[in-house]
Amino acid sequence: MMENLSPNQRAWRRFKQNRPAVISMSFLAALCLLVLIWPLFSKPALAKLLPVGMTHSPVELTDQPFAKPDMTYWMGTDVNGRDLLSRIMHGARISIMVGIVGALVSLIIGVLWGAIAGYLGGWWDGSMMRFVDILYALPSIVFVIVLITTLEELVKGWFTNAFGADFAQYSRMIFLFVGIGAVSWLTMARIVRGQVLSLKNRQFVDASRSLGAGPGRILFRHILPNVLGIIIVYITLTVPSVILYESFLSYLGLGIQPPFASWGSLIAEGAAQLNPVRINWWLIVFPAITLVSTLMALNFFGDGLRDAFDPRG
């Protein structure tokens, strides 16, 4: 039976046959939905209908610090007696957002830079890649520290003027989004450039050039689709690594600031509480499980997309 399907429809069919990828996609969709509606649960009207473990607010202080997980606090409480489950669900917003925005920023810069350098070759390739070398050679952590400490006050003041004082507390978050993205594009550029370099001498590129295609068309229609697999795999490596980078910054005290929390800052708090005398295991285990399972789902999802859309497959 012959069917007329567009390449995207065919890709979607292939994707649906990949069991781990479909499960991961449902997991991610369910997580996003749950994270979005979670704050509603503490509203009195809904709270009456729900089990008590789901109705805590992340800022609610109790007189039970380090409570073990039980029916009231499903994941236990932290050093200040705040419900951990609720903090994780609220932290998810920030972690997911940092990951997506950071990865997008690095994707756009990295792919354009690498593809253009690789395609133009010669002098352009040399100087553009030397620029990447220079940035590579400056450890990104120094960059981020300087970026956060210098520009934050400036932008905070600017935000206060433009949107009012309430908005100023978000300036750190926006810095993390853009800052982490702006230091994560280098590897993407190198990988894309390496691939473009070995693809542009292939026959199919010569063929399309002899048919009269311009550089833009060759690059975007013929070369980049062939690099798509590596780009998607690398972006699935970038989203988690951006989330990890944020957690590392939180570990240093430079990441998300209280009262906000991200999974990274929750794990960092939990790791600080790990000691042989009194093991408050839930403080690190639950945020770590949430983070790791989300990152793994992202990876399986990305792999599934890659296998489905890869033109060589």
Partner: protein, 304 residues
């Protein structure tokens, strides 16, 4: 010839990097003497600044720094004032180098075979199991793995000592904590490279002319498939050699990774620039080696 040109190019490159690093730490507000135990009187602070030439114009400071650098002197640390930056690097670098090379070998030795096998056995049990392990390795943050390794192997089983850097046994847990993450990354790049290569026409040709499957996989496919790993190895090794803040911090390894982060937080200007330059030299040299290896492995890449 091409490589000679690249090597000659390193010197202006390092000059630019030293200048950028020098200016970058100076832009940040605050100074190296802000966190002194006793708040210094303005006069003391002025004297301190004069002693370290911090009161001169920025460009002149850079020029002085550069002149000392030519003599191989990175200057005094502004935070640990009894030590020069040279001292601190001389003490910490061998430790970080040892740890870094071991972690690198672990990452490659674990990642390349794992990526190779999962690609060859695509869709099988080995693929799912192996890919799951590689994924798990890159999804757990170092500051979760580190404390967990300590709790399980050092405290619970008492198999390995922690907290010093004396016998080879001290190196086992930090190497694991550092190497596993990168091993997972290498495995994923290797698998991707191998899958792409196995679909190429030259593999079909090699099979068609009757080569054994082992020969096709090892002699033909592997050479090309390993390229993404090769190009990732340069930055990977540079990262590992200069040390890792998290692992060195958790295991109390006396390397230089801890200094890189702390000195930029403390605005220890000379230390930041010194360590950034050290990192830069390693990275640039390693990238050169990587590019050379790339052109040897993949003859399709034209050099120069």
């Amino acid at each position: 010839m091409y490589y000679l040109k690249r090597i000659a190019f390193l010197i202006p490159l390092l000059l630019i990097i030293s200048f950028l690093a020098f200016m970058l730490v100076r832009i940040a507000p605050g100074g190296p003497f802000d966190k002194e135990r006793a708040p210094a009187s303005p006069e003391i602070e002025r004297n301190l600044k004069a002693k370290y030439n911090l009161d001169k114009p920025l460009l002149e400071q850079y020029w002085i720094y550069l002149k000392n650098l030519m003599k191989g002197d990175f200057g005094p640390s502004l935070k640990y004032r009894n030590h020069s930056v040279n001292d601190i690097i001389a003490q910490g670098l061998p430790v970080s180098l040892t740890l870094g090379i071991m972690a690198f070998l672990l990452a490659q030795g674990f990642g390349i075979p794992l990526g190779f096998i999962t690609a060859v056995k695509k869709g099988g049990v080995l693929d799912y199991g192996g890919s799951f392990i590689a994924l798990l390795a890159i999804c757990i943050p170092g500051f979760v793995v580190g404390p967990l390794l300590v709790l399980i192997f050092a405290i619970h089983f008492g198999m390995f000592p922690v907290g010093m850097w004396e016998t080879p046994l001290h190196a086992v847990l930090p190497t694991l904590a550092l190497g596993l993450y990168f091993g997972g990354k290498v495995a994923r790049l290797m698998r991707e490279g191998m899958l792409g290569t196995l679909n190429s026409e030259f593999i079909t040709t090699a099979r068609a002319k009757g080569l054994s499957e082992t020969q096709v996989l090892v002699k033909h496919a592997f050479r090309i498939a390993v390229l993404p790993v090769v190009s990732y190895s340069g930055p990977l090794l540079a990262d590992l050699l200069v040390g890792s803040f998290v692992v060195e911090n958790i295991f109390r390894v006396p390397g230089i990774g801890v200094f890189l982060v702390n000195s930029s937080l403390n605005r220890d200007y000379t230390m930041v620039v010194g360590l950034v330059l050290l990192y830069a030299v390693m990275l640039l040299v390693l990238n050169l080696v990587v590019d050379f290896a790339y052109s040897v492995l993949d003859r399709r890449v034209k050099v120069g």
